[in-house]
């Protein structure tokens, strides 16, 4: 059996590795997607006061610290049985919308977009944000940096510092915002709406206007029929910060919604011998292996999943784009994974609109941003939608609020099974007997998981420096017969 190794995966958090095993004929026999798990977080937390968790957990991940901050804050609220006042919830959601705005912008222009803007066969040296800027224009590059700056500024104003917010505590926030800050945020949000619309237009022009890309998106290679989950508000519209988690089947039918404290009734975890990371699946359906279909408990939690699991978007412009999305792609649900990039841009527009909505809410400058907890702390669950999927924090404490147990299901973990399936399917489609495995082929395999934007390290870990993608082909004796390397 031949063995191909893609190690490490470029532009992917944590030190991931794809191993592709070929049979004697040179076709793909199996693929394994492995990630070394960071160890000992629970042990690290036990014995600390629960109110430290919003600060500690945002150190788990260098990519979405704001998401961990929010999930931890909500779990700590639940532990103390305290409901933050409306202004606190709105401020947290406003901060969170600013974070989404930055994160989704970055993904499109720096990570997902280059495959389309530069093309899947473009040299890796050009398939990055620098290449994108040179192709679409310096002015647009400036807008991307501006968009990120605005998102960071909103996080800093409400969260006390940029990137790693520190103001959420059980019962609300330690500070509010002034009228001046509110005005500034509103202006940034209005600019953001235009920027998001511009980004969607760019996607329409570059991607949807290119038949080869449309064929790639709607083709079978990047398609999987699975369940989808995503948080919705009381009207079943997408919400990033609060609500219930909606679960829909591969036909798009909602099979239920669960509140944060009900997650263990819905989600279970499967263990495989070849990886430390567990595979979450829908408990009510059961684990049937890495397979598509209604009988398989495999689910997906991504921007695409959130759109599929909801009845629409809560803001008008995003709703228009939502309708266009489904009418173009043939109705709900959309199973084509590459459409996730488009779904992410619809969420970008929603985030910008939500910033304006919240910044113009009369309550947003209210000084009533904290409720002092009075109940004895016990146990609590907090759920938010991280950009990369539903994020669940579950804490147990003693009567002093000191942690005795911690469980987290991070955004990306949800997608471990569907991602593994996507990689296998793409590898099977592109790596065959007689096919020369070149960089374009490798990139098409990577494109299978890039829509998920996996973040397995879920720490501040990045790949070391410039790590070229290396693919090693070994014969049945384990001897290296060919090495394909990116420089």
């Amino acid at each position: 059996m031949q063995r191909l190794t893609i190690d490490p995966i470029t532009r992917l958090e944590g030190h991931g590795k794809i191993e592709i095993f070929l049979d004697e004929d040179g076709n793909v026999a199996n693929t394994y997607f492995q990630i070394p798990e960071l160890r000992g977080f629970e042990r690290f937390c036990v014995g600390r006061p629960v109110e430290e968790m919003p600060l500690l957990t945002n150190r788990i991940c260098g990519v979405c610290p704001e998401a961990h901050h929010m999930a931890a804050a909500k779990a700590a609220d639940a532990v103390y049985h305290v409901d933050p006042p409306p202004a606190a919830k709105k401020l947290r959601e406003l901060l969170y919308s600013g974070f989404y705005f930055t994160d989704h912008t970055t993904h499109f222009y720096a990570l997902g977009g280059p495959d389309f803007i530069m093309g899947p066969d473009a040299p890796v040296a050009e398939r990055n944000i620098l290449g994108v800027i040179h192709k679409v224009g310096l002015e647009i590059g400036g807008k991307v940096i501006q968009a990120r700056k605005y998102g960071h500024t909103i996080v800093e104003m409400i969260g006390g510092r940029k990137v790693h917010p520190c103001t959420s505590i059980p019962g609300g926030l330690t500070k509010g915002i002034t009228e001046e800050q509110r005005k500034e945020i509103e202006q940034m949000g209005r600019w953001g709406i235009e920027f998001a619309q511009f980004s969607i237009d760019l996607f329409n022009k570059i991607v949807l206007g290119n038949k080869a890309y449309v064929d790639l998106i709607i083709g079978d290679i990047y398609t999987h029929h699975t369940y989808y989950i995503g948080t919705v508000d009381e009207k079943n519209k997408v919400n990033f910060y609060d609500g219930k988690v909606s679960v829909v089947d591969p036909d798009g039918k909602r099979i239920g919604k669960y509140a944060a404290n009900e997650y263990t009734e819905w989600i279970a975890e499967h263990v495989e011998p070849w990886t430390y990371l567990k595979f979450p699946y829908l408990k009510k359906i059961g684990w049937k292996g890495f397979v598509d279909g209604k009988d398989s408990g495999v689910y997906c939690a991504t921007p695409l999943s959130r759109l599929n699991a909801a009845d629409g978007m809560a803001t008008p412009l995003a709703q228009e784009e939502y309708e266009k999305f489904y009418s173009t792609l043939g109705g709900k649900p959309v199973h084509q994974r590459l459409a996730t990039h488009w779904a992410r841009l619809i969420e970008l527009l929603y985030a910008a609109e939500r910033i304006v909505e919240l910044a113009t809410d009369p309550e947003i400058t209210s000084p009533n941003f904290h409720t002092i907890p009075t109940e004895k702390p016990t146990e609590g669950v907090g759920i938010v939608e991280a950009p990369r999927g539903t994020l669940t924090h579950h804490y147990w404490t003693d009567e002093r609020g000191v942690l005795t147990k911690v469980n987290l299901i991070v955004g990306t973990t949800n997608n471990y099974a569907p991602m593994s399936m996507s990689i296998k399917k793409a590898a099977e489609a592109f790596i065959k007997k007689g096919v020369v495995v070149n960089e374009g082929i490798l990139n098409r395999v990577e494109m299978a998981f890039r829509p998920y934007d996996p973040c397995f390290g879920c720490a501040t870990h990045s790949l070391p420096g410039q790590m070229p993608l290396q693919l090693t082909i070994r014969n049945a004796k384990g001897e290296v017969v060919e090495v394909v390397k990116r420089d």
């Binding site: 960071l38 260098g62 501040t460 790590m467």
Partner: protein, 183 residues
């Protein structure tokens, strides 16, 4: 000339947080009135302030758990950056190395690139293309790390022992009035 000294890493992930420890140690030494280095840096401040009155020299310190584009954004407005980070280059644990950003393909650090956006080199090139004022010179102080997958606030023994050496390297760079010639 404005210099940023920035420690990178995750402060709760064992050796990964060594960059933070080095920067904290430098700040402590500077605050210590008996430290020779503190005197030299203070002297450096005032000398530069006199000789380049219109553009006073300044050294700022920061710690961050970021990479790629976000790290580039941290560097905007500085003329020079000294980045302290954990590295895995298969040298003895605790080895302190010094290299320029452009040498990174051979001398990787754990945080100068972010697979969620771009490497620092690409991010700086993109930032410069868009007209941002970014350092002409980015110097990396890398400390060879061992335990980077276990949550802990403690450094490995060898890495802890390397902290004073890394601090000396940074202070040496700061004490030079001109750009440090690495060749």
């Amino acid at each position: 000339m404005k210099t940023l000294v920035i420690g990178l890493g995750n402060p709760i992930l064992g050796d990964d947080g060594v960059g933070w420890k080095v920067v904290e140690e430098i700040q402590q030494r500077i605050d210590d009135p008996h430290s020779r280095s503190a005197w030299q840096i203070a002297n450096h401040y005032s000398l530069s302030a006199i000789s380049h009155a219109e553009q006073p020299s300044a050294i700022e310190f920061d710690c961050a758990a970021v990479g790629g584009i976000t790290l580039m954004e941290y560097l905007i407005g500085y003329d020079r950056a000294i980045v302290i980070d954990a590295v895995i280059t298969h040298q003895p644990i605790g080895t302190v190395s010094l290299f320029r950003l452009n040498d990174l393909p051979e001398h990787s650090t754990l945080h100068t690139s972010s697979p969620h956006d771009a490497s620092l080199q690409t991010a700086i090139a993109a930032g410069q293309a868009m007209g941002a004022h970014l350092p002409d010179e980015v110097i990396i102080i890398g400390i060879e790390a061992k335990k980077i997958y276990d949550f802990s606030e403690e450094l490995s023994f060898e890495v802890e022992a390397a902290v004073p050496r890394a601090v000396d390297e940074v202070l040496l760079l700061l004490e030079k009035e001109t750009h440090y010639d690495l060749t």
